[in-house]
Subunit: 265 residues, 2 copies
Amino acid sequence: SFDRDCCWRSGIKLLPIECHSSNDFRLTKEALVTAYERARSDGVVVKGILITNPSNPLGTITDRATLAMLATFATEHRVHLICDEIYAGSVFAKPEFVSIAEVIEHDVPGADRDLIHIAYSLSKDFGLPGFRVGIVYSFNDAVVACARKMSSFGLVSSQTQHFLAKMLGDEEFMAMFLRESAARLAARNERFTAGLREVGIGCLRSNAGLFSWMDLRGMLRGGEKTAEAELELWRVIVRKVKLNVSPGTSFHCREPGWFRVCYAN
Amino acid sequence: SFDRDCCWRSGIKLLPIECHSSNDFRLTKEALVTAYERARSDGVVVKGILITNPSNPLGTITDRATLAMLATFATEHRVHLICDEIYAGSVFAKPEFVSIAEVIEHDVPGADRDLIHIAYSLSKDFGLPGFRVGIVYSFNDAVVACARKMSSFGLVSSQTQHFLAKMLGDEEFMAMFLRESAARLAARNERFTAGLREVGIGCLRSNAGLFSWMDLRGMLRGGEKTAEAELELWRVIVRKVKLNVSPGTSFHCREPGWFRVCYAN
């Protein structure tokens, strides 16, 4: 949904940093540099890097070293680093989630804070998408000032603010909620992926989010590894199996046959 | 606040249609034509007419004939007519409020509906500014489609929607609320203006809104009828009397000495 949320009105162009199953789709410096240089040689002015951590659709967290690499790259190349941490409260197994805010504090003291921005929302971790509460946490005063002005026509209802202040201020409830949510997600993830394993379907090992990254490469018709074969399989799943999964192509994944399937919401 | 809400981001320029105390600040066709022609001769491309009905700061309603004149003018000159009807539910005395929607239906059948737009909000009539619920009622499909898309980052919280749907759907409560609100506003208005009359201060006779348009022309220092004298008097009222009134200049009123004073909120 970055395409919809970031590009439609602004005219921004999103270029994927390509990740592969060979290393569990981890973001590497090589992939970042390749994407950056290809963009530049195509005449694109690169303004920033956008990542989701924990990742959507992978359901995995980005490790501290990779985040440090990103912050260093952003600082060196004068590009913004926007981290969407919307699933930060839905990490249900080790390794632990680390926010970019912690990384620049402890691991990259030379990072230019004016280039670092965090997005968050209560939609996912608390199952409150209808409350329409989003948060921009930026170290850049100009960004915060602009967001404050732009929000004047879309402020959060006082009624909702009151409710959420109560909820978020209740430390005992919050600790209990996050603990219970993690335990239930872990159980659901285990049950779901075990069921798939029984019928011969693998998933990327994940530890966060409300979904699995399902490997259906073996089910592409005639073993044909193309985007068309993936979409054909997607139509079968949606129409016959009646499961609303998302094909990898919709996340700009270049390796056909991967699907995101939600098991909680 | 039209300056803030309409101009700051869009770059729109607002030009006042001048009204005068001599006819109780009523909007005339002559004043409209004068403002329109002056704008055109200054090289301004006139895109629309913006009115508040009931009027803020006057607390009076615009009569049916004037609304019909505006709709006809808009249609003839291919300019939009935007009616802010935010105080429509706070009319506490005759004459009755008429919406532009009714006028184009019954009085100006030839009006071009694509040029007519109504703004409303629950902030004033229901005292719910914190709920951040605004309504754009337009006959123009392109405007509605655009507003729908633009609202995607500022939707009303589902919790607030639920509460308001209950409230607005309760016809008995709504009838009682509007009746009671009108009665209390009428009483407050009467008590307030009578008190001012006792000390020799007149107000424009009003029948809507939560404020009075107070005539302090006689109190301008040395009888000097200038914007400076008005602001000087405003500072005295704010600092010494500790009443947060709004000077006429902030509503682009060209006749110094008028102030809007709220008696309900």
